[in-house]
């Protein structure tokens, strides 16, 4: 029986069709997907914080409205993804608990601080740009609900990246001090953005299995290269440089060569020792605790309405 189910699963994959919630799935496929989707959802939820910190300090009503919409989108993306994880049998409350107690991770990038308003622009440009590189191939992920959530997310990410780049263009046409802020933010975010693609392929033991399952469509290094090739011409138009002396066009490869990110730093930040890890989790915990009365009140209200309807 199990062999038959496995054969059906393999056949769906081989024909490049999508697996759906009530299909039989191998346990390892299911748990890998839950881990990946949850990590992705957690990243969206924690990802509200670095930019959310600037909403009250945005320099104009226009920028404030844009930033609010963007942070609201991040919340939405988190919810699409939790919803996809639930189709695999995960419990939303349990996922949140795992985020809070550190047994599930989120993207290392959100553990860096946003020191100036230029950071909001650079996050849109580079961090969301890297996210788009990672996410566009996931629209073809073999698990249907995940792929469909990614399609919605990718549509909205395009606004995120463009508002960031436009913000930076505006600052670059400002004062010398504003231009220095943009360069400074670029210098600080470039390497962490490259690390968003994960460890190098030589140190990424799960990649082969994830690609066989068509959960992942490209290796970490392929996507990182694509991101570098995309970003260099954008930096030229903007008038900033990346802090990498080894970055140059390689005519033979038809790609940019670039330096090695500090993988020890990535490991440190992922395992909890980044600049803002403790702060991010403490903030989320406080938000959850402070909002508990709302959930309790809504539950009590719903119960009361049901009782009145019954009588």
């Amino acid at each position: 029986m199990e062999a038959e189910l496995q054969a059906h699963f393999d056949d769906v994959l081989a024909r490049d069709q999508r697996l759906e919630p009530r299909d039989w799935l191998p346990d390892a496929y299911r748990s890998t997907l839950i881990r990946q989707i949850a990590q992705h959802a957690h990243s969206e939820i924690i990802g509200m914080q670095p930019e959310g910190a600037w909403i009250t300090r945005a320099p104009s009503l226009r920028r404030k409205a844009i930033l609010l919409a963007k942070v609201q989108d991040e919340a939405g993306h988190g919810l699409y993804l939790y919803s996809a994880a639930e189709t695999l049998g995960a419990e939303r409350g349990d996922l949140l608990e795992r985020l809070l107690n550190g047994t599930q991770k989120y993207s290392s990038i959100f553990n860096y601080p946003t020191l100036s308003f230029a950071d909001v622009g650079v996050i849109g440009w580079l961090v969301d740009g890297a996210a788009i590189c990672n996410q566009v191939p996931l629209c073809r992920s073999s698990y249907g609900p995940y792929a469909r959530a990614m399609i919605r997310i990718c549509k909205e990410e395009s606004f995120h990246q463009r508002q960031g780049y436009e913000l930076l263009l505006t600052m670059m046409s400002g004062t010398e001090r504003q231009r220095r802020m943009v360069q400074d933010a670029t210098d600080r975010w470039w390497w962490p953005a490259l690390m968003m693609f994960g460890p190098p392929d030589t140190d990424s033991p799960n990649t082969a299995q994830s690609m066989a399952w068509k959960v992942k469509r490209h290796t970490n290094d392929e996507l990182r290269q694509r991101f570098v090739d995309m970003s260099v011409p954008q930096a030229d138009v903007l008038g900033v440089t990346f802090p990498d002396p080894e970055l140059r066009w390689n005519d033979e490869r038809r790609h940019y060569d670039f330096g090695e990110p500090d993988w020890a730093e990535l490991k440190r930040v992922i395992t909890g020792d980044g600049p803002c890890n403790a702060e991010r989790i403490a903030h989320l915990r406080a938000a959850r605790d402070d909002g508990a009365w709302v959930r309790e009140a809504a539950t009590a209200h719903a119960r009361k309405v049901r009782e009145v309807d019954r009588d």
Partner: protein, 93 residues
């Protein structure tokens, strides 16, 4: 349950089209589910009408029984117009 019940969300993107399933969400009652669905799934004019329904109210066919369940329609080729051979020179058919 403190995080609310699970609801499935269906959106009609414009008049003349069917409602299509777009995902799910948590809410403590139907009214909240509808409002959350608006905020979550139609932030950019994606819909003109929304249905929400508690997930546990849906009865679905199971993929495991897919073949026998849909088998009755598999061998009835005469239900399709292409089953019938009509000479090429018959107009408008």
């Amino acid at each position: 349950m403190i995080d609310g019940e699970l609801y499935e969300v269906f959106v009609r993107t414009k008049r003349g089209l069917n409602h299509v399933h777009v995902g799910s969400l948590h809410a403590t009652d139907d009214e909240m589910a509808l409002r959350n669905a608006r905020d979550l799934y139609t932030r950019r004019n994606e819909g003109v009408s929304i249905w929400v329904v508690r997930s546990d109210s849906i009865t679905a066919s199971s993929p495991d029984e897919k073949d026998p369940f849909f088998a009755p329609s598999g061998d009835k080729v005469y239900r399709h117009p292409t089953f019938y051979e009509i000479p090429d020179d018959v107009p408008q058919m």
